[in-house]
Symmetry: C2
Subunit: 108 residues, 2 copies
Amino acid sequence: MPFYEISKLNPTEVIPGYEARSIHTGTMTFLYWKVKAGASMPVHSHQHEQVSHVLNGKFELIVENEKTILVPGKVAVIPPHSPHGGTAITECELLDVFLPERDDYKFS
Amino acid sequence: MPFYEISKLNPTEVIPGYEARSIHTGTMTFLYWKVKAGASMPVHSHQHEQVSHVLNGKFELIVENEKTILVPGKVAVIPPHSPHGGTAITECELLDVFLPERDDYKFS
C-alpha cells in the first residue's frame, strides 16, 4: 500500500511543543511536525542531510548562523553535520525530509 | 546559501499543463509542480524512488493500478520502476521528492 494519511500516523512529542509523525521509505525519512507557537528546537546537528519546508505557519530557522523566516514556498537545504535550530513564530506544520533514514525517529 | 524561494526558481513546462521548478541537493531532487485542472501525466516509470505530496488541490494518482485521490495530508511512496501517472482534478501544487537526483529535470 503506497498511500499514507498523515493524520492517521502515530504522533510522538519529541521535545515540548514538537509533535512528529513519520514515514520511513527505507532510504529517506519524512517527518511531519505540528509545532506550538513559541516552541524552540535547540541548535543541533546530525549526519543526515535535511530539507525543510513549512506547510503552514511561520518558523524562524537558523542554519550555520544564517537566519531566515521559513513560510510556505520557502525551502531550507541543510547539509549533513550543519548546526541548525529554530523557533515557531506561529503554530506551524513542518515537513522535514532526511537522507538517510533517521533511526532515532522510528517511533514505536 | 541554504535557503530557496520556490517562486523565484526558473519554471519549465515539462508536458502540457505541468510547470515545474526544481531544487537538486546533490542526492535528491525536489520538484515543485503547478498543474492545470484536468491535465494528465501519462503512466510512466523510472529508476528513482518518488514520494509525492499535494500542497494544494486534488490529484487523482494511480500507482501500480491502485488509484487514490491525493489531497494535502496524504502521501504516496512510489518505489523505483513502479508504473504511475495521474490527473489533476483541480488546479494543483505538488511536491515530488526523488532519490537519486533526476538529471532529466535539471532545467537549463
